[in-house]
Symmetry: C2
Subunit: 216 residues, 2 copies
DNA sequence: GCCGGGCATATTGTAAACAAAATAATTTAT
DNA sequence: ATAAATTATTTTGTTTACAATATGCCCGGC
């Protein structure tokens, strides 16, 4: 139960339905999810440890706001571990796995065309999890997932630039092609490149956000 | 409160006071720590997410038992991220930090001589945290810490071989020397080497453990 | 004598009530 | 009218009681 609440909250944050520094009041969440505070509490503790929300003792939880510096640091680590996965991934990749990736990429692409951000999010998530799942090291897979979750809060801002989604879509196609041809160096380079736009886009949005409004 | 329970349990596990697959009953822990089940519960959830205990729904928590494969996977990722920290660490290191490291190393060394495993554990922990703390990327520091915690359960077995502790002590001295001389390549190599013995020792112990006893 | 059903116990999961802390609002004094 | 102090409200933290689930035990049937 606590897990489904946590997932819903993650979704809300990714889709921009909840903004950084927004308060998350336990009773409100109980009403929304029709449960008691115990579960909500657990979910908030979980999200705190994931780095998605911030909890201040005796004051409650709020959606965490990442500074540009924190975002850059997270992406630096992501690059390291995702490139590691790309390096150790056994080649060639089974045809079955390649076609799974193609299916997910197709869904992702269609969702972009339909402006269906919910599906964009989940299809993208599954694509990456399937992709890195191929590396065979489950600790590495989990680490990659955790780091991805840390930046959920910035996805909405990053995706606000339409060219970012376009670029992601194109990257996915290139990645599948590189895997199919068992061209590891190319795949590693694509993995690296794929991580570049998001932090840049967020930082642009962040600076724009604070040019008019004053810091809280 | 939940945090201190969690830390105590971690300590118990590291020092071999609680063994893999041992059950952790909520009420027992309440008695031991003189608190109510809410806190104990939270601590167990926390340790589950850290990968130190395993929780089976409606059946309770047990100390997690890692397979050799899992241990090797974790150490592969540790090597990647710790080497990253060694690569990006700004050189030269301030004299203040070097002497802090030397202090911790001295404490660690003395504790080994006194067979004081509790101090060995904490001095070693602080040494590594101070060392990697120098890299400046807080996400990376946290990732390293998390991965270190995942293998708490095997520490007791790894430390059972006295030569492992000797080797660790010598490595620490070499690392400080390399840092003082700002010899990055050497420091990176030492970081890598320092991670080799533990998984090997654990796997030896693991196989010995299952040569006589049957699998549960 | 062994297998299976049912009862008793142990243990976890859920919910609600209570207590403490922080914030907001109101009153009072200067 | 403003600022400080006091009260009221909101929100989180803790505790206890209750319900559900799983496990072990005992007894009866085959």
């Amino acid at each position: 139960m606590a897990n489904v609440i946590a997932r819903h909250l993650e979704e809300d944050i990714v889709l921009g339905r909840r903004h950084p520094r927004e308060r998350l009041v336990e009773q409100d969440l109980c009403d929304r999810f029709e449960t008691h505070r115990g579960d909500v509490r657990l979910a908030l503790f979980e999200l705190e440890k994931k780095g998605i929300v911030e909890r201040i003792p005796n004051r409650g939880a709020l959606v965490r706001d990442l500074t540009p510096r924190e975002v850059l640091e997270i992406y630096a680590v992501r690059e390291e571990v995702e490139v590691m996965a790309a390096r150790i991934l056994p080649l060639p990749v089974a045809e079955k796995d390649l076609s799974t990736l193609e299916d997910l990429q197709t869904r992702h692409s269609a969702a972009i065309d339909n402006d269906d951000m919910l599906t964009v999010f989940y299809a993208n998530l599954e694509f990456h999890q399937t992709l890195f799942g191929l590396c065979g090291n489950s600790c590495l897979i989990e680490t990659i997932k955790q780091l991805e979750q840390k930046v959920y809060g910035i996805r909405f801002y990053a995706n606000a630039f339409p060219e970012a989604l376009e670029r992601a879509r194109a990257d996915h196609v290139d990645m599948i092609r590189a895997l199919r041809a068992s061209r590891r160096d190319e795949f590693v380079a694509l993995t690296r490149r794929h991580l570049q736009p998001s932090p840049k886009a967020y930082i642009r949005a962040y600076e724009r956000r604070f040019s008019g409004a004053k810091r809280a």
